[in-house]
Amino acid sequence: MVKDTGVRAPLPPFTDEHADLRASVNRWIGEEISPHVDEWEAAREFPRELYLRAGELGFLGLKYPEALGGQGGDCVHDAVWAEELAAAGASGGVGAGLGAHTGIATPPVFNFGTPEQHERFLRPAIRGEKIGALGITEPGAGSDVAGIRTFARRVSGGYVVNGSKTFITNGVRADFLVCAVKTTEEGGHHGLSFLVLERDMPGYEVSRKLEKMGWHSSDTGELSFTDVEVPAENLLGEENRGFHLIMANFAWERLSMSLAAVGAMRRLIETTVSYALERRAFDRPIGRFQSIRHKVAEMGIKLEASRSLTYQALRLHAAGRNPIREVTMAKLLSQRACLEVADECLQIHGGYGYMREYGIERAVRDARLGPIGGGTDEVMREILGRQMGL
């Protein structure tokens, strides 16, 4: 038998470089974010300056080319960022705010944008000077993405946009919104396009900051557009090809949510195991009771199954295989698993878990969005069932 030295070489798709990145993200969060989480949760937002700081450290441009101010890495670097944001205790809210910027708002600009759009939106976003948001969901179009009603009417030189969006992460303070609109009367799969809307455009309004169960330190907005004039140079990708862009973006959104769930579970289980070793009842640490040990065992399996499936999907994604099935499975499994693990960890913490100061109740509230955001569990099952021939 080979003796385990405790030092392990990273396994694919991760390399030593990713291990270093993991450590530096972790350190940054531990030093500059975790100590302020309670305050930011209560304030219902984290300071805008955090984007600048993350930009300065290079975290907002990990997968973008150096020529655009990025770090020249790839999606695996971004994967490390997504996982560690959750694992190092940045809170669901901070993770959502920074993650929506790097994971869903800027990728379509990079992937489908012109060089001029890269300069206008991506470069400042990588520096953290402009905050991005992605606008797809509407009051009447949640799971049913093709039901989008926000309409961009063609006029000379551009579009006039009318409609509304809801549940938009970063929606309250985003400087630009990568926004799905219909560009034909019928809309639907062949009539959607993406426009970049800017906060200072007349008629662009934040109608409400939504109060929600969790993710308290991130802002979630409801937006309304009244005759917003958008110039043609803000069209992202091809007109009426927006549905394809939405679908392309979903892959990374779901993968990064899976990675975040893996990170969150790692942290929760670690915290709970140390609690179970410290907390004494009936004259011994509660971790010495079989029922607690067995709960922890079940949680360990949920984490490992989620991690394996997620990393497999990541490997395939990094290899350019467009693994819809694996990403969908990873999202479905990991979000449910994370919610169950968070709830079980709260249960092990008992009365202390229910109180705010231990952060466990927050983890449960934060985890509840997982099976809803980025495509509900029901939509995931629908995609899978169809993929499997039914």
Partner: protein, 387 residues
């Protein structure tokens, strides 16, 4: 063989209970439901709701007619808790604590103590609290450290309690204290009535919580609080028995709260699913949603049966209630947690925002798996009864 009481008991609610339930439903729909979101958001104790309950005799539900109560027993009380919890779990706690904080007196108090304290609670003039848990003694209350030492004929209490419902609202607290440090774990404990206006009593720290935010919870502190001998409940040194007998009954209130939360969430999700349209039709027409709702309704109904069964055992004077109340609490609270999680799921993004009630219901449901004996402790109670 079934006992005579069991055999003759009708398998349906008496008509007068159904009438009372309907009255409560109306009050809850018109007066409690519209306040629920606000009570949660502002984390305020709803004094108006307590007054409302008092004016409709709901605060008298835990008490016998001799003590100014309705004399309608455990089943009727828990039906009321269930109805209130459908709309507002924090308000349901007002009824639950009425029972939890007075059962020690009802079960073990002297006639004089009962006459002194129970009628005031029944009218709503006074409010009780039950102080058992401590920072290091939750599931294991036998490990408590709060002490009561004799001084002349009085007792002097020192210590602190944890997670006490009704903190700052209650007029008196039932406080469990070690009175014989030599007696060993779970022994040498006694129960006392401690009035909130006694010198040395302090409200202490109030907690921020995941749910039941309209019900204050916290750490009362007892700094050399002096109480007279007539405030000792039951026999000195046998307080652990007082606590356990109380919890055997009061945890049915938790089960009732859980059943109410689950039913409230199921009803809301079902109504929403009929209205909400996606992919060109109401989401209620999708089997994925229909089957979820069917499962939610079934588990809730099963939980209610366990609850009513345990209540009827108490009302019939059956001594074998520990196991039945533990099963009802365990199953109902797990059901409430599961059902509310699914209700949030059915509402999707709307389920996660505070404008709709189901995220609050999910946050409220969690405590039912923890308080008045964690579900792990309920499993222990049930397993032991099988020996």
């Amino acid at each position: 063989m079934a006992t005579a009481t069991e055999a003759s008991a009708p398998y349906s609610l008496p008509p007068e209970f159904i009438d009372f339930r309907d009255t409560i439903r109306t009050i809850v729909r018109e007066r409690v439901a519209p306040r629920a979101a606000e009570i949660d958001a502002q984390a305020e104790y709803p004094r108006d709701i307590r007054e409302l309950f008092a004016s409709h005799d709901l605060l008298g539900l835990p008490f016998d007619t001799d003590h100014g109560g309705t004399g309608t027993g455990s089943l009727m009380l828990n039906i009321a808790i269930e109805e209130v919890a459908k709309a507002c779990a924090s308000s349901a706690l007002i009824l639950m604590i009425q029972e939890l904080g007075t059962l020690p007196i009802k079960l073990f108090g002297t006639e004089q103590q009962q006459r002194r304290l129970l009628p005031r609670c029944a009218t709503g003039e006074q409010s009780p609290a039950f102080a058992l848990s401590e920072p290091d003694a939750g599931s294991d209350p036998g490990g408590m450290r709060t002490r009561a030492v004799r001084d002349g004929s009085d007792w002097v209490i020192d210590g602190a309690k944890n997670w006490i419902t009704n903190l700052g609202v209650a007029d008196f607290y039932i406080v469990f204290c070690v009175t014989d440090a030599e007696a060993g774990h779970s022994h040498g404990i006694s129960a006392f009535v401690v009035e909130a206006d006694r010198p040395g009593f302090e409200v202490g720290k109030l907690e921020h919580k995941l749910g039941i935010r309209g019900s204050p919870t916290g750490q009362p502190v007892f700094d050399a609080v002096r109480v007279p001998p007539e405030n000792l409940i039951g026999v000195e040194g046998e307080g652990f028995k007082v606590a356990m007998a109380t919890l055997d009954r009061s945890r049915l209130g938790v089960a009732a709260q859980a059943v109410g939360i689950a039913q409230g969430a199921t009803d809301y999700a079902a109504a929403y699913a009929k209205e909400r349209r996606q992919f060109g039709r109401p989401i209620a027409s999708f089997q994925g949603i229909q089957f979820k709702l069917a499962e939610m309704e079934t588990r809730t109904a099963a939980a209610r049966e366990l609850l009513y069964r345990a209540c009827s055992k108490i009302d019939a004077g059956d001594p074998d209630i520990g196991k039945h109340s533990a099963m009802a609490k365990l199953f109902a609270s797990d059901t409430a947690m599961w059902v509310t999680t699914e209700a949030v799921q059915i509402l999707g993004g709307y389920g996660y925002v505070s404008e709709y009630p189901v995220e609050r219901m999910m946050r409220d449901a969690k405590i039912t798996q923890i308080y008045e004996g964690t579900n792990e402790i309920q499993r222990l109670v049930i397993a032991r009864s099988l020996r």
